[in-house]
């Protein structure tokens, strides 16, 4: 069994099996109802619930969900993005050069406050360092920091200020790079860049690659960089994405029942694969056995050293008890598959013409 130093730095000291399939989440988690209620009170000008009170509520929620991730047994935890509202809005509020003009339709009566870039984007205060430091303080487990990537930040905004979206993407990449440097200084070792927009406009993989090069410039090698992409036609971005300077690709595949799995078998998947093994659009908890089968799908693409286990996407739209059930079953399934791998009872042939290294 070969090793994978970058991934193994997150292996718990008391890990029970020889094999290690790192378990984690993509990021978002259902907010406790009282947190939404607290937000309403905070936004109500007639109510005495002030900013400090709301801050305390968010701190409590972050601690609670971080702890819930621990209880589910995850190897790497997140605070469930309790402080964030939406993946573009949250950052746009913190970046100089953005303004908000009101909600726009995504589909049906689902809207979001799509921001406009009206002048040069600038980095002022840190976006996520406080969030990271708080979560790291609240747990002994490694903490992952999800951050929306520059391509998605550019694509899901109106661009009034830059010649084209590529130019805006690269300007934002510099800001994301600055933020990641600060996170690394604060101790973060696992960063996940979320680029859902890539799946919707797959012809743009070149600009995403260029932006990633800018983002990881001067970031130490031991810092694990993941890229999350979801809900798209992966055949249009693979194998080109293998050129991206990231350690791990976090991919949604359970929702489509692994119908796109073969895309990643040829050519050989050279990075780590964080495989979506539970469907976040189905409000029923998959059984441990089902998730074990899903995890084994990943072993058709990469050897165990390169496999990470995760839900398809953020789980924030699920009922909270369903979200928890999926996490807990996912961890149990991963441990079972590890044990089977230790015993050599799993015989999966990878179709790729990989050299015999295991």
């Amino acid at each position: 069994m070969s090793t994978n130093e970058n991934k193994d730095q997150f292996r718990p000291e008391d890990h029970e099996n020889d094999h290690f399939l790192l378990t984690t989440v993509v990021g978002s988690y259902p907010k406790p109802k009282w947190l939404n209620r607290a937000k309403e009170l905070y936004q109500d000008p007639d109510h005495g619930f002030d900013e400090d009170d709301y801050q305390e509520a968010k701190d409590d929620a972050a601690r609670l969900i971080t702890n819930e991730h621990e209880r589910a047994g995850l190897d790497v935890v997140v605070d469930g993005e309790m402080r964030r509202n939406e993946m573009v809005e949250f950052f746009a509020h913190r970046i100089e050069g953005y303004e908000f003009n009101g909600p726009v339709k995504v589909w049906g009566h689902n809207y979001f406050d799509k921001p406009s870039v009206v002048s040069e984007v600038e980095y002022t205060d840190s976006w996520l360092v406080d969030e990271y430091e708080f979560t790291a303080e609240a747990t002994d487990r490694p903490v992952k920091v999800p951050i929306t990537g520059p391509y998605t930040l550019a694509n899901w905004s109106f661009n009034e200020a830059y010649e084209d979206d590529d130019e805006l993407t690269l300007a934002l990449a510099d800001l994301v790079n600055e933020e990641i440097e600060k996170l690394v200084d604060a101790g973060a070792r696992y960063i996940q860049i979320d680029e859902p927009a890539l799946a919707t406009t797959p012809d743009d993989h070149a600009i995403v690659g260029e932006a990633l090069e800018q983002i990881v410039a001067d970031i130490p090698d031991e810092v694990r960089i993941g890229l999350h992409v979801c809900y798209g036609d992966y055949s249009r971005i693979y194998p080109e994405i293998l050129e991206f300077p990231v350690d791990e690709f976090d991919l949604e595949l359970a929702n489509g029942d692994y119908d796109q799995l073969d895309v990643f078998k040829d050519p050989e998947f050279t990075a780590d694969l964080a495989l979506g093994v539970t469907d976040v659009h189905v409000a029923e908890v998959e059984s441990v056995e089902q998730i074990e089968e899903n995890i084994k799908k990943g072993l058709e693409v990469v050897p165990p050293e390169q496999l990470v286990v995760s839900p398809d996407c953020g789980v924030k739209l699920l009922p909270r008890e369903v979200a928890y059930g999926k996490m807990a079953n996912m961890v149990e399934a991963a441990r079972n598959v590890e044990a089977d791998l230790d015993e050599g009872t799993i015989d999966i042939e990878r179709d790729t013409a990989a050299p015999a290294d295991d």
């Binding site: 003009n101 589909w107 049906g108 009566h109 799509k114 661009n159 009034e160 927009a197 406009t201």
Partner: protein, 346 residues
């Protein structure tokens, strides 16, 4: 493709009429977004089915009156109903049809927008849904412009499980749309939106059938018919075939592509009327009316043409992509630009 001669007028100059308008499909006013979210819900099965109850219908009625008044206040020459009920955007006329099932949520062209995939599973008989909207709007304005998806785009957005053959399906969609148009109240203009002619350009043979289908829908009305493709320029052959249809104007998206659109007009000519998409329907940056007027001058200056009879000035795309306040500003700019263009020419 017999009609590739230039069709614009080379005779004695007549005065060009500049008409400010839009391709419709407006954003809902923010209060209506809230009210309808509460009344209808956020899920797939909550979207409009054509059988909405009184409470929901009255919100739409109020919102329709508001956007019609907004267009009148802005000074637009043509007023659209607003298509505020079109939850599924251009797929709406099928999505509310009795013999169409709506399935999963699918991407709307290359946008971060989604609609329910309409699956045609029975004969596309007369519906009257859009005519009903226009009847209501016609009581509020005398400058009414109807808006429909063009037959090629509507077929492209849908899935056929009834007709079994691409050509037959396109024909059935054209029959259906022509029947709907036939039931419209009197309108000044009919805009047929055809983004799929650009985004999923028809191949040999289909391009001719697309033109015939458009011709069939256009023939169902006495109103001026404008066919508006967008998100780029038409391929040459597609454009040449489109000119064979009996339509009054073709639209050009000069926001997305200038060179190829100019080339098409220079090479193949254009009908006597033209529609210029000059304000960006997908960006909050609000153009100056003078800048729009200058773009009109620029386009006209590039063409070896004496004069168009009518030039429609419009956003290149639908405007539901915009926050409501920005959409309102865009309308005002178009109206003012058309006024400026009239003055310049006179």
């Amino acid at each position: 493709m017999e009609n590739i001669k230039r069709r614009y007028s080379l005779a004695a100059p007549t005065m060009t009429e500049y008409v400010s308008t839009t391709p419709g499909l407006f954003p809902l006013p923010d209060w209506a977004k809230d009210d309808l979210s509460d009344l209808k819900g956020h899920q797939k099965h909550d979207l409009i089915g054509g059988d909405e109850g009184e409470e929901i219908a009255s919100v739409y009625e109020q919102a329709r009156a508001e956007v019609i008044e907004g267009q009148q206040d802005a000074g637009l020459d043509r007023v659209v109903e607003g298509q505020l009920r079109w939850d599924d955007m251009l797929a709406h006329p099928l999505a509310v049809h009795d013999n169409v099932e709506t399935r999963g949520i699918v991407r709307y062209y290359d946008n971060n927008n989604f609609y329910r995939e309409p699956v045609v599973s029975g004969d596309l008989e007369f519906s009257g849904d859009v005519a009903g909207e226009l009847e209501a709007a016609s009581e509020l304005t005398d400058d009414l412009q109807a808006v429909l998806p063009g037959p090629y785009s509507l077929a492209d957005l849908a899935t056929d499980e009834q007709y079994g053959d691409e050509a037959e399906f396109l024909g059935a969609i054209a029959d259906f749309l022509a029947g709907e148009v036939d039931a419209f109240p009197d309108v000044e203009t009919l805009f047929l939106l055809e983004p799929s002619l650009v985004e999923n350009a028809p191949e040999d043979g289909t391009d001719e059938r697309a033109s015939e289908a458009i011709d069939q829908v256009a023939s169902a009305t006495d109103a001026d018919v404008v066919v508006q493709p967008y998100w780029g320029a038409l391929e040459e052959k597609v454009y040449a075939h489109l000119l064979d249809a009996d339509i009054d104007a073709v639209g050009f998206d000069f926001v997305a592509n200038q060179d190829d659109n100019l080339y098409n007009i220079q090479e193949y000519g254009a009908p006597a009327d033209i529609s210029l998409g000059l304000a960006d329907g997908q960006n909050t940056l609000v153009e100056d009316p003078e800048a729009i007027r200058d773009r009109v001058d620029w386009v006209e200056g590039q063409l070896p043409v004496a004069e168009f009879e009518t030039v429609y000035l419009t956003t290149n795309t639908e405007t539901f992509y915009l926050p409501y306040a920005k959409y309102e500003e865009k309308l005002a700019v178009l109206a003012e630009a058309a006024d400026l263009a009239e003055v310049t020419v006179a």
